[in-house]
């Protein structure tokens, strides 16, 4: 950045920030359109805009990847935003999740007669925040991305104004989310005090070439950053909000949230922990170790007594967060690649799972007890089998994407000397298997005559989403090679 009299020249590589611009631009266009339109904007228009924007982002990521092949990773906007393989793949995953979630939300809005462009506006703005988080190379930019992502989600959770529990969930999410953000930015302030910069590459460079005068400041800052992230990814013991919010939010919003928050937050976590504080690996690893054990085992154990599908999936996502943390703990290129692979397979799987849960919820989005799934696979074999595949993938069964995802993070951990950690994570997967299998068994059980067994209507858009989710799960399960190779190739811009 060169400042001359009265003018400020900042060189910006627009290809890098184009995904954020597209998503946020589409959000603004819809916002203006909904103000100009005489009546409420038709849902078909808003969904089409969301789909167009996310497909445009997918196309842009292709060009970003080609640019990477030619000239390698780079940073722009005063080194605050980076273009590297990691951000490109994560952006593509977010765009895919946004498109899938938009289709599910469209069919939900038609069923529930929820009108207006609000869902699309907020979802697009939130996803712009998530994409910014994957690209951010500065603690303040991560904070901004986190807030853009979260502020949209707080409102999305409460978007169905007829439901009291949605507003309640939104309030809980908002208070704890705001609390976590404040902790995060305080951590950033302390790291700034200890190293003289909030830029992640500068922080790392400083730590690599200087003796830190105030190690206490740095450690406190790093710990607060970690607490902020732990809230966002719902790691135990910072997970309390997650089951309530997952249950209270409209189901398509839950699916959307579960996918993009994980991708955005983990991408930023890797950036901070590996790129920024990679030199302090020995210090933060033991903390991660405890966090992972609590999260994997805690998530699996707390899920066991659940009888509500959405709460069960909330605890299951906590268990998954623990597994993804194992990949971060490894702290190696292998670990980063495993984390990216896990995120890329988990996001479509979880959106498709919540798509089925949305359908099963029925009018009013209320039938979420596991009992309502009894005999589903006998009444509607395709729907039942799809859910079974998605659950088995989350369990980590062989021939599904979840297997290779779990295998790769554990292999990366063992490679870095975390045998005990890998064993504990495996143990938690074994506990988690019991509730996934119980649910799958319920799907194939003899239908109960007393319970209403009306067929679930599967609209075309949701069917497509379920098809894509199941297809990817099976395809990446039997043939993980290409995506795994891509993840290996998608290195992080700056590793000390």
């Amino acid at each position: 950045m060169i400042a001359t009299a009265g003018t400020l020249h900042v060189s910006i590589h627009y290809l890098v920030i184009l995904p954020v611009l597209i998503l946020f631009g589409a959000s603004l266009v819809l916002l203006i359109a909904s103000a100009m339109w005489r009546r409420t904007v038709p849902t078909a228009v808003t969904t089409a805009t969301t789909l167009a924007a996310s497909l445009a982002v997918l196309v842009v990521t292709y060009f970003q990847w080609r640019c990477l092949d030619k000239s390698g990773p780079s940073s722009t906007v005063a080194h605050a935003v980076v273009l590297d393989g990691f951000s490109v793949v994560a952006t593509a995953v977010i765009a895919l999740s946004v498109a899938m979630a938009a289709l599910v939300a469209h069919d939900w809005a038609v069923r529930e007669n929820v009108r207006g462009a609000e869902y699309s506006i907020l979802a697009l703005a939130s996803s712009a925040g998530a994409v910014l988080m994957t690209q951010a190379n500065d603690l303040v930019v991560i904070f901004l991305g986190l807030e853009i992502l979260s502020l949209g989600l707080y409102v999305l959770v409460a978007i169905d104004r007829r439901k009291g529990e949605s507003a309640e969930a939104a309030l809980k999410y908002f208070i704890l989310g705001g609390f976590a953000s404040a902790i995060f930015i305080y951590g950033a302030a302390l790291v700034y005090g200890a190293t003289g910069s909030t830029n992640i590459s500068s922080v790392s460079y400083f730590l690599g070439s200087n003796v830190v005068l105030h190690p206490g400041l740095l450690y406190a800052g790093g710990a607060l950053l970690l607490v902020g992230f732990a809230f966002k990814i719902a790691a135990v013991p910072f997970h309390m909000w997650s089951p309530d919010v997952y249950e209270g939010a409209p189901t398509p919003v839950t699916g959307f949230m579960a996918s993009i928050v994980k991708v955005g937050a983990f991408a930023a976590l890797i950036r901070v922990m590996i790129s920024g504080l990679g030199t302090q690996l020995a210090t933060w690893r033991p903390i991660f170790w405890v966090l992972i054990i609590l999260t994997t085992v805690g998530g699996a154990l707390l899920a066991l007594p659940q009888r509500n599908a959405k709460r069960l999936l909330a605890y299951s996502s906590i268990n998954h967060a623990g597994f993804i943390l194992v990949g971060v703990w490894a702290g190696t290129v292998l670990g980063n690649a495993a984390t990216l692979f896990y995120l890329a397979t988990y996001a479509p799987t979880v959106v498709a799972t919540f798509a089925i849960v949305t359908l099963m919820g029925g009018l009013g989005d209320e039938r979420h007890s596991l009992e309502s799934y009894r005999g589903l696979a006998r009444r509607q074999p395709w729907l039942g089998a799809s859910l079974a595949v998605l659950l088995l993938s989350q369990l980590g069964a062989p021939l599904t994407a979840g297997f290779y995802a779990k295998y790769s993070v554990l292999a990366a951990a063992v490679d870095s000397g975390g045998v005990a950690l890998a064993l504990v994570a495996l143990l938690s997967a074994a506990i988690a298997a019991s509730f996934y299998l119980r649910w799958t068994v319920v799907l194939y059980a003899e239908p109960d005559d007393e319970i209403d067994v009306s067929r679930v209507v599967v609209p075309r858009g949701t069917a497509l989403v379920i098809g894509v989710g199941v297809g990817l799960t099976l395809l990446l399960g039997v043939w993980p090679g290409p995506l795994a190779a891509l993840a290996q190739h998608a290195t992080v811009y700056f590793t000390p």
Partner: protein, 101 residues
């Protein structure tokens, strides 16, 4: 008489602590918001103090970002409180107990 930078940092830490304590103990959603704002302002004091002691303008500009975020948060938060209040006529979080388990 110049006040050492560490005093400002301690003040900020205290404010942050009071805010965090308030979020965790107070039961009114509005007061919890105010506590979050207090935490964010403590962060601002910290940034400005470090920026001054290092003569780095970067830390001072961050304050503007934090202020904008805080304002946006309040807007969204109050909207949600109003939505809850319309149904319950109370902002006490103790009465929010539909979701449990």
């Amino acid at each position: 008489m110049t006040i050492p930078a560490s005093w400002y940092l301690i003040l900020a830490a205290l404010l942050f602590g009071i805010g965090a304590f308030g979020v965790l103990t107070r039961r009114s959603a509005l007061i919890m918001f105010m506590c979050i704002e207090l935490m964010l302002n403590a962060v601002n004091v910290t940034f400005v103090t470090f920026a001054r002691s290092m003569s780095d303008i970067g830390g001072q500009t961050i304050v503007f970002f934090v202020m904008v975020v805080a304002a946006a948060e309040v807007t969204v938060g109050l909207g949600i409180v109003v939505a809850v209040f319309r149904r319950r006529a109370s902002t006490s979080v103790d009465e929010l107990s539909e979701l449990q388990g």
